[in-house]
């Protein structure tokens, strides 16, 4: 009940602010442009045994970039705005558990992200009309995108809980997420041993499997761990007001 009320409040605050509409519009325009150019590319230069499967793989990997740039804009306000406005003092003096507050914010952001992601389903539906194709690998890819999105949200909420400046929260989130992307890029600079570790940590290497249409328990476990880790950190930050300044 309490958690549901908080969830509704968070959801409402997304839909009354222009930010969500701008982010969603930019997300859908850019992903639509990627879809269009990727499709033209494969139609013109189509290669590989299974043209459509390669096409979806490329599109999913491209969507990842659009998400990386747009998701932090959705998460940056979650705690930073409440701190700036001082409304966090109201919320934290209501009979609300920290976990309820966190879950409500996380779920609202996930729902908004879900709506945005659902918008991109227009592309496979369009292709299906012209040229039917197997959906199962694509569903695996979308599950990967969704898990990736939840990981972005978990990280973004954590950063947002640290500051009362939304821009700082947004920029720092982009920084952390980008680092997890490029972590395994520079093979020449890292020793083979270190590279093995970095690939394990790299969020986008784990996403690659999903993009190929494969659901690997290892990769699912990685994202679940990533989300749990940042959720844990956020709850500790919320809790910190209870032990800071205490002897």
């Amino acid at each position: 009940m309490t958690c549901l009320a908080l969830f509704r409040k968070e959801l409402l605050s997304y839909f009354v602010s222009p930010l969500f509409y701008v982010v969603a519009a930019v997300f859908l325009c850019l992903s639509g442009y990627y879809f269009y150019t990727d499709l033209i590319f494969f139609v013109t230069f189509g290669f590989g045994m299974n043209i459509l499967e390669n096409f979806w793989q490329l599109l999913l990997v491209d969507l990842r970039l659009v998400m990386l740039l747009s998701m932090p804009l959705l998460t940056m306000r979650l705690f930073a705005e409440e701190k700036k406005l001082g409304t966090i003092e109201l919320l934290l003096t209501y009979p609300v558990r920290d976990a309820e507050l966190f879950v409500a914010k996380f779920a609202a952001c996930a729902a908004v992200f879900g709506v945005m992601l659902a918008g991109t389903l227009l592309y496979p539906i369009y292709v299906q009309v012209i040229q039917p194709f197997p959906w199962v690998p694509l569903i695996a890819g979308y599950l990967g995108l969704f898990l990736l999105g939840l990981s972005f949200i978990a990280c973004g909420i954590f950063v947002s809980s640290l500051t009362e400046n939304q821009v700082v929260a947004g920029m720092a989130t982009i920084g952390i997420l980008l680092l997890f992307w490029i972590l395994s890029w520079n093979e020449a600079a890292t020793s083979p041993e270190l590279l093995r570790v970095l690939i394990r940590l790299s969020m986008f290497d784990h996403f690659q499997t999903f993009a190929r249409g494969v659901i690997d328990a290892q990769d699912v476990a990685y994202f679940v761990f990533f989300i749990s880790f940042f959720s844990f950190l956020t709850l500790r930050v919320l809790e910190s007001r209870k032990w800071r300044g205490r002897r």
């Binding site: 009940m1 309490t2 549901l4 009320a5 908080l6 509704r8 409040k9 409402l12 605050s13 009354v16 602010s17 406005l85 001082g86 409304t87 003092e89 109201l90 934290l92 003096t93 209501y94 009979p95 609300v96 558990r97 007001r241 209870k242 032990w243 800071r244 300044g245 205490r246 002897r247």
Partner: protein, 333 residues
């Protein structure tokens, strides 16, 4: 209902509150009085479970603020200082949200929302965005959310700040109307406010309690003497000398302010008793053929009281010695 024992709160090296203890009985209204930055808000935030004390304990309705924070937060209504509730929510929607968070359900939900909107005068702005409301209305929205669940304990941090005089009177009337039913702790730096809304006053300065009593008792305690304002149409030196010789007068003070005009001169007469001295002064002035323009007792205002309590405390601590300075009456003409 509220028990605070040896409460201390440090922020890094800043000592916001130091060894504060007081209790508030059920149904009592108590005012926390002090200048800005004296630690009022910190005490209130500890009481609302927002953060725990560095040491000492605070209990509200039997719940420990640090240990049983959730149960405590169910029993209190809190109006934080200068917080604008969600600016992009409409007033009614915000109150519905508060009702849901506090698990007020069924017919009581609509009934309570309607009641607080009526009590706080919010009906005409029920569907406006909170962000577009004037400061006074926002403050009333804050008060409405604090009253929504009929809390046993109401904690109000500067409830009338930023309101116009008419709104201040309305809010004070509202708070007075809760007396007996609800335990009220309110903070303010506007001194007359506490005497109007509260039975008891706790005066704090720089994180410490300076005094705690009823407003009347505090006045008596600090006063200990009567002061009478006298304005006479006559020669200044002679009048002064004559007043000093009136029986019962301990000391006289010249009080010619900006309002002094023409031939009249003004004095403040310090004495042990009030009424008999005023009669004697009137008789002495009239007997000498001067014109008695004004004789009135000077009550020690809460402003005076505060200045005296705080300065004497500072003198006792630091030996600055300005406690001996004669009191500046705020209502000097």
């Amino acid at each position: 209902m509220i028990e605070i024992e040896h409460l201390t709160k440090h922020f890094g090296s800043t000592r916001a509150v130091q060894d504060v203890s007081f209790t508030v009985r059920r149904g009592e209204a108590i005012g926390l009085l002090g200048p800005n930055g004296s630690g009022k808000t910190t005490i209130m935030r500890v009481l609302t479970g927002f953060f725990p004390p560095t040491s000492g304990r605070a209990r509200v309705a039997g719940y420990d603020a640090a240990e049983q924070s959730l149960a405590l937060r169910r029993t209190i209504g809190y109006l934080p200082e200068s917080v604008v509730p969600y600016p992009d929510m409409r007033v009614r929607r915000f109150l519905q949200f508060c009702a849901d968070v506090r698990r007020i359900t069924g017919p009581r939900r609509a009934q309570r929302i309607d009641a607080v909107m009526h009590d706080c005068g919010l009906r005409e702005v029920a569907d406006r965005l909170i962000g577009t409301l004037s400061k006074g209305y926002r403050q009333r929205v804050g008060l409405a959310q604090a009253l929504l669940h009929e809390p046993a304990v109401l904690i109000l941090d500067e409830p009338t700040v930023g309101l116009d005089p008419r709104q201040i009177i309305e809010i004070r009337t509202l708070i007075r109307g809760l007396r007996g039913r609800t335990t009220v702790l309110l903070s303010t730096h506007i001194l007359p406010e506490v005497s109007m809304t509260c039975e008891r006053v706790v005066i704090i300065d720089r994180g410490r309690i300076v005094a705690e009593d009823t407003a009347e008792a505090l006045t008596r305690r600090v006063e200990g003497e009567n002061r009478t304002f006298v304005r006479v149409d006559g020669p200044r030196e002679a009048v002064g000398a004559a007043l000093a010789t009136v029986p019962g007068v301990d000391a006289i003070e010249r009080a010619d302010g900006a309002a002094a005009s023409g031939d009249t001169c003004s004095f403040i007469v310090h004495s042990g008793t009030g009424e008999t001295v005023r009669k004697a002064i009137a008789a002495a002035v009239v007997a000498r053929g001067w014109g008695l323009v004004e004789v009135r007792p000077l009550a020690l205002s809460l402003e005076d009281l505060f200045v005296r309590l705080v300065t004497s405390e500072a003198a006792a601590r630091g030996g600055a010695g300005f406690a001996a300075r004669p009191l500046e009456p705020s209502d000097r003409p």
